[in-house]
C-alpha cells in the first residue's frame, strides 16, 4: 500500500486569532502536529487534493467562505478530511445539518480539552482508516483496470456465483474459455480464492445493485463497467 508522505496534521481554521492560538497550543500540547489558518480560503489554498491528511477543526461562522461551504469542498477530497466544527453561537439547527452532512463532531465554545481531543482522536483515526481504505481501493482499481472487457464480464458473473458452464452459456462461449478467463482474472486481481474475489468485486462496486451499496462512490478515473443486471 502506498503510504502518504505527509504527516497527519490537525488543521485549525478560525478567524479569531486568540482562539486559533489557544486551540493550536492545546492540540500541540496533546502531541499533534497543528497548522492554523485564519480563513477557509487560506486553508484550501494550502491543502490541495490528496495532500491533506489529518482533520480540520473549523469554526462554522467565518467571513468569506463559511465552515459549511468548506465542508462541501472537503468532501470532494479523497479521502475526505474529517471536520470538527466549533462555534461561538449555540447553533442547533446548523449543528444538526453539519452532522448529517458528515461532520465528525460539533463543539461549542468555550471548548473543553476532553471534547476536543477526543474528537480529534476519532477524526484522525477515521482519517487513517479512510486513507487505508482508499489505498486498498486504488490498488484494486489499478488491478481491475488491467482486466480486459471480457475478463470483466466473466468476473462480474463469477462473483455472482455462476458456475463456469453457466457463464459460458450466457456469454456464448465454451466453459473452457471461461476457465481460462477466470484464471486470468484471479491472477490479475491477485486473489487466491473466490471469496477474496467477491470481496474485491464488492469493493469495486461491481456487484449488482440489490446488494449493499458501495461505501464509496466509484472512482472517477476508473471507467464505469456497464453491468446488465439480471
Amino acid at each position: 500500500m502506498k503510504t502518504t508522505t505527509t504527516r497527519s496534521t490537525v488543521f485549525v481554521v478560525d478567524d479569531d486569532a486568540s482562539v486559533r492560538k489557544g486551540l493550536a497550543r492545546l492540540l500541540k500540547s496533546a502531541g499533534y502536529a497543528v497548522e492554523s489558518f485564519a480563513s477557509a480560503r487560506e486553508f484550501l489554498h494550502h491543502v490541495s487534493h490528496g495532500e491533506g491528511t489529518g482533520c480540520v477543526v473549523l469554526d462554522v461562522r467565518m467571513p468569506g467562505l463559511s465552515g459549511l461551504d468548506l465542508q462541501r469542498e472537503l468532501k470532494t477530497f479523497t479521502p475526505p478530511i474529517p471536520i470538527i466544527f466549533i462555534t461561538g453561537y449555540g447553533d442547533i439547527p446548523m449543528s444538526v445539518r453539519a452532522i448529517k452532512d458528515g461532520a465528525t463532531d460539533f463543539l461549542a465554545k468555550p471548548i473543553h480539552e476532553q471534547d476536543l481531543l477526543l474528537a480529534v482522536q476519532q477524526a484522525m483515526a477515521r482519517n487513517a482508516e479512510d486513507r487505508v481504505r482508499y489505498e486498498v481501493l486504488r490498488e484494486l482499481q489499478q488491478r481491475a483496470s488491467a482486466l480486459t472487457p471480457r475478463e470483466l464480464e466473466v468476473m462480474a458473473l463469477v462473483v455472482r456465483g455462476r458456475l463456469n458452464k453457466q457463464v459460458a452459456s450466457e456469454l456464448g462461449t465454451t466453459e473452457k474459455t471461461i476457465k481460462v478467463h477466470r484464471a486470468r482474472v484471479m491472477e490479475k486481481m491477485k486473489v487466491t480464492s473466490l471469496a477474496d474475489l467477491v470481496v474485491a468485486a464488492e469493493k469495486l462496486g461491481i456487484l449488482p445493485r440489490q446488494m449493499t451499496p458501495p461505501l464509496f462512490p466509484p472512482p472517477a478515473a476508473a471507467p464505469r463497467p456497464r453491468i446488465s443486471d439480471p
Binding site: G22, R25, S29, I86, K109, I111, H112, E113
Partner: protein, 742 residues
C-alpha cells in the same frame, strides 16, 4: 223784609264807615241803585256786577253805592209803595245823593213818580228798560239811561230754522206785571207768524199743571219761555228756576230770550244779556259825576244780544251744531277738563311726568344695578362652574397671601373641606421635607408679585403622597390694582410616571437592541473565553510532560491574561449599555467610539456576512456627549444598516462609517449601507416611534436615536444614496463640557 233790609243796611253802613275812614282826603260820591226786584235775581245781579265793576274802575273818586231792592213784584200794593216812598225819603234825607239809578222799568216808574219826595233834583239814570216800553213817554231832562232791546221774534225764527216742520208754538209766561208786559211785547212780535203757526200761550196755569201740560205736547212743537215771576196760581218764582223746570218737563225744545236762562234749560236763542247793560249805566253815572249834565247825555242802546246755545240741550234735542248760524256761541259744552284746568292739568301732568321720569330713572338705575349684580353673579357663577369643572386644581388668594378659594377639583384631590384648606390650611398637606421650600417660594414670589412654579409632595385623599406642580400668577383689577394670586396645581405623578416610562421605554428599546446584540455579544465573550480555556488546558498539559515546554506555558499564560482583558472589555461595554441613563456629558473621541462599537458588532458582521468599512477624518475633534448614548445611536444605525442589506447578495453587503468635520463646532457621522434604501415618503417617518418594517421590531430605535441626538444639540437625518442603499447621518457639537444634565 225788614230783617233782610237790616242786614243789607248793616253791610252798607259798614261799608260807608269804612269808606268814610278811608276817604278822609278824597270826596266821597254817593249814589243810589234802585232795583225793582231783589238783587239776588241773576239778571239784576249781573247788571249790578257790571255796574259796580265799571264804576269802580272808571273813577278815582270814592263812590258810595246804596242799593235799594224794592221787591215790587212780590209786594205789589199801593200801600206798600207809599210805605216805601216814605221810608226812602227818611232814609236818605240826610244824604246827598248825586245820582239815582233805576234798574228796570218798575223802578223807573216808581222813581219818576216819587222823585221829588225821595230824591229831589237828583239826576236819574235808568237801565234795563226796553225802548219800546218807553214809547213816547217824555223823559225829564235830567233822566238818561241805557235802553234794553228786547226782541222775541229773532229767537222764534232761529228756532224755526232749526226745527223745520214746526207747527205749534207754545209760549210760557207768568202772571206778574212784568211777565205780562213782556208777554204783550212778545205777542206783538209773534203776530206775523200766526198764519203758519199755531200759538198757544200758557200763562194762567199753576206751575205743576203747566209742567204737566208741557210734558204732553204734541209733536212738531216748540216752547218759547219768557219770564215767570208769578205763576197762574199766584205763587212767586224766580224765573230762571222756572225755566229749569219747564225745560226738564217739556217734551219739546224750549227756547228763551235771556242769556241768564242759558244753562238753565233753554236750547238757546237770540239772547240779551244784562252785564254790559250795567256797565253802560255806570258809564253814564260816571259822566254825570264828572259834571256832565244828564240832558246832554243821550240814551244809550248797547247792542247786547247774542246768538247762543246750550250744548247740552243741543245734544238733548239732537240738533246738529253745523246747522247753527255762524257766529253762534255754544256754551256749556261738557267743559273739557282741559280748557277749564288747562294750567292745572299741564302743571299736574308736568309733575306727573317729572315724577314718572324720576321713578323711571330710579327703576332703570335699579334694574341696571340688578343687571350688573346679576351679571356679576353670573360671571362669578360661571367662573365657579368652570373652576369646578376644570380637571386641574384651582386656587386663589387675597392680598395677604391667605387663600380664599379652591375649586372642586382641589378639594376632591386633597379630600379636605373648603374650610380646612382656606387661609393657610392648604399647607398642611405638603410633605414636611418640602414644606419649607414651598412656603419660601410662595412668599418670595408673592412679595415680588411674580408668577411662580414649584414642585412638592402633597398628601392626597388616599393618604398617599404624590408629586404636584403648583403654579400661581398675580391678578389685577385695573392696571395697578393688585388683588391677589390665582393659579393651578396638577398631579405630577402621571407626568413623572410618564417620564419614568419614557426612560423605561428607552431602556427597553435599548434592551431590545441589546437583544439583537445578544448573539454578537455572547459570541464576543465566547471567543476570549475559548482562548483562555484552551490556553489554560494547554498549559497544564505542557506542564505535565516529562520535560515541560516552559516557554509554551509562559506564552499560554500571557495569552490568557490578554484574552481575559478582552473579555473584561466586552463585559464593560455590555454593562454600560445595560445601565439606565442619565445623560453624562464628557468629551468623546468619536473615531475610537465607533471602532469600539463596530468591534462589539463583529460577531454580527460575520453572522450576516457584512463588511464594515471605516472612513475616518483623522483630526476630528472630540465631541461633547454621553458616551453610552452615542454608542447606542451608532449601534442602532449599524444594526439597521445590516438589516437593510438582508436580501442583498453577500458580495455587496458593505457598510461604510464615516466621520468628518463639515464646519467648525460640529462633527458629522455617516452610516452608509448598500441595501434596499428607504422609500422617499418614509424618509421623515422612520424617525417616528413605533415605525418599523421589521416583523419583530419595536420601531423605537430611530426615534430614540433622534431624541438622543437632539438632546446633544445635534441633528439626525436620512437620505437615499445615489447608487444604492441609504445613508443615515447625524451631527454632534464639539466644544467644552458644561456640567449640564437634563
Amino acid at each position: 223784609m225788614i230783617g233782610y233790609t237790616t242786614s243789607r243796611l248793616t253791610c252798607v253802613t259798614l261799608t260807608v264807615c269804612a269808606a268814610g275812614a278811608l276817604s278822609a282826603f278824597s270826596q266821597t260820591r254817593q249814589i243810589v241803585l234802585l232795583y225793582d226786584e231783589r238783587t239776588d235775581l241773576p239778571g239784576l245781579a249781573m247788571i249790578d256786577a257790571g255796574f259796580v265793576r265799571a264804576l269802580s274802575s272808571g273813577s278815582s273818586d270814592q263812590i258810595e253805592i246804596y242799593r235799594e231792592a224794592m221787591d215790587l213784584s212780590r209786594f205789589d200794593s199801593d200801600a206798600y209803595r207809599k210805605l216805601l216812598r216814605d221810608y226812602l225819603r227818611s232814609k236818605y234825607a240826610a244824604k246827598k245823593i248825586e245820582v239815582a239809578v233805576a234798574v228796570m222799568e218798575p223802578a223807573l216808574d216808581f222813581l219818576l213818580s216819587h222823585r221829588d219826595e225821595v230824591f229831589p233834583r237828583t239826576p236819574i239814570v235808568f237801565c234795563g228798560i226796553d225802548k219800546g216800553r218807553l214809547g213816547g213817554r217824555p223823559l225829564p231832562s235830567d233822566v238818561t239811561g241805557v235802553l234794553l232791546k228786547r226782541e222775541f221774534s229773532p229767537t222764534l225764527e232761529l228756532a224755526l230754522s232749526l226745527h223745520p216742520g214746526t207747527e205749534r208754538i207754545v209760549v210760557v209766561a207768568g202772571t206778574s206785571e212784568f211777565d205780562a208786559r213782556l208777554l204783550a211785547q212778545a205777542r206783538e212780535e209773534f203776530r206775523p207768524f200766526g198764519d203758519r203757526l199755531a200759538f198757544t200761550y200758557l200763562t194762567a196755569l199753576p206751575l205743576p199743571e203747566l209742567l204737566s201740560q208741557l210734558s204732553r205736547l204734541p209733536p212738531k212743537t216748540i216752547v218759547l219761555y219768557s219770564t215767570v215771576f208769578r205763576d197762574g196760581g199766584g205763587n212767586p218764582f224766580i224765573p230762571h228756576e222756572v225755566a229749569e223746570r219747564v225745560s226738564a218737563a217739556a217734551n219739546a225744545p224750549v227756547y228763551g230770550f235771556v242769556d241768564q236762562y242759558l244753562g238753565r234749560g233753554i236750547v238757546g236763542g237770540q239772547l240779551y244779556g244784562l252785564g254790559p247793560h250795567g256797565e253802560a249805566a255806570a258809564g253814564l253815572v260816571l259822566q254825570i259825576l264828572k259834571g256832565t249834565k244828564p240832558s246832554e247825555l243821550s240814551l244809550i242802546e248797547p247792542a247786547s244780544s247774542v246768538t247762543a246755545f246750550d250744548w247740552q240741550q243741543l245734544e238733548r234735542w239732537g240738533i246738529d251744531e253745523s246747522r247753527l248760524p255762524s257766529g253762534a256761541i255754544i256754551q256749556f259744552r261738557p267743559v273739557s277738563f282741559w280748557s277749564e284746568y288747562k294750567y292745572y292739568v299741564i302743571g299736574g301732568l308736568a309733575i306727573i311726568v317729572a315724577q314718572t321720569a324720576t321713578i323711571a330713572a330710579l327703576l332703570l338705575h335699579r334694574a341696571r344695578r340688578r343687571r350688573a349684580e346679576r351679571s356679576l353673579h353670573e360671571t362669578e357663577a360661571r367662573f365657579r362652574t368652570a373652576a369646578d369643572a376644570a380637571p386641574v386644581m384651582i386656587w386663589m388668594s387675597g392680598l395677604d397671601k391667605l387663600c380664599t378659594f379652591f375649586n372642586k377639583g382641589w378639594l376632591d384631590f386633597t379630600g379636605r373641606s373648603l374650610e380646612a384648606e382656606l387661609g393657610n390650611g392648604w399647607t398642611e398637606g405638603v410633605h414636611p421635607d418640602d414644606l419649607a421650600k414651598c412656603l419660601k417660594i410662595y412668599a418670595e414670589s408673592f412679595d415680588a408679585r411674580h408668577p411662580f412654579t414649584m414642585e412638592y409632595r402633597l398628601r392626597c385623599h388616599d393618604r398617599e403622597y404624590r408629586w404636584v406642580l403648583h403654579h400661581g400668577v398675580p391678578r389685577y383689577a385695573a392696571a395697578q390694582v393688585f388683588l391677589g394670586y390665582i393659579g393651578s396645581r396638577v398631579d405630577l405623578t402621571d407626568h413623572k410616571r410618564a417620564e419614568e416610562s419614557g426612560r423605561q421605554l428607552a431602556h427597553a428599546a435599548r434592551m431590545s437592541t441589546m437583544g439583537a446584540l445578544a448573539g454578537s455579544l455572547a459570541h464576543e465573550l465566547n471567543q476570549p473565553l475559548t482562548a483562555i480555556l484552551s490556553n489554560a488546558q494547554a498549559g497544564s498539559r505542557f506542564l505535565a510532560d516529562r520535560t515541560p515546554n516552559i516557554s509554551e506555558v509562559r506564552e499560554a499564560l500571557r495569552d490568557i491574561a490578554q484574552d481575559t482583558k478582552r473579555a473584561g472589555d466586552v463585559i464593560r461595554q455590555l454593562r454600560k449599555l445595560i445601565k439606565r441613563d442619565d445623560l453624562q456629558f464628557e468629551m468623546v473621541d468619536l473615531n475610537q467610539l465607533i471602532r469600539d462599537v463596530v468591534r462589539l458588532l463583529y460577531g454580527d458582521t460575520v453572522n450576516r456576512n457584512v463588511q464594515v468599512v471605516l472612513d475616518f477624518q483623522s483630526d476630528v475633534p472630540p465631541v461633547r456627549g454621553d458616551m453610552v448614548q452615542v454608542q447606542q445611536v451608532l449601534l442602532n444605525l449599524l444594526l439597521n444598516a445590516f438589516d437593510a442589506m438582508k436580501d442583498v447578495p453577500v458580495s455587496e453587503r458593505k457598510v461604510c462609517v464615516r466621520t468628518q468635520q463639515p464646519r467648525a463646532g460640529m462633527v458629522q457621522i455617516e452610516v452608509r449601507d448598500h441595501g434596499t434604501g428607504i422609500h422617499p415618503e418614509n424618509l421623515a417617518r422612520i424617525f417616528e416611534p413605533f415605525e418599523t418594517t421589521k416583523p419583530d421590531g419595536l420601531g423605537l430605535g430611530l426615534s430614540i436615536s433622534r431624541s438622543i441626538v437632539d438632546a446633544h444639540g445635534g441633528r439626525l437625518w436620512a437620505t437615499n444614496n445615489v447608487d444604492q442603499g441609504a445613508t443615515v447621518c447625524f451631527t454632534l457639537p464639539t466644544g467644552s463640557v458644561p456640567p449640564n444634565s437634563t
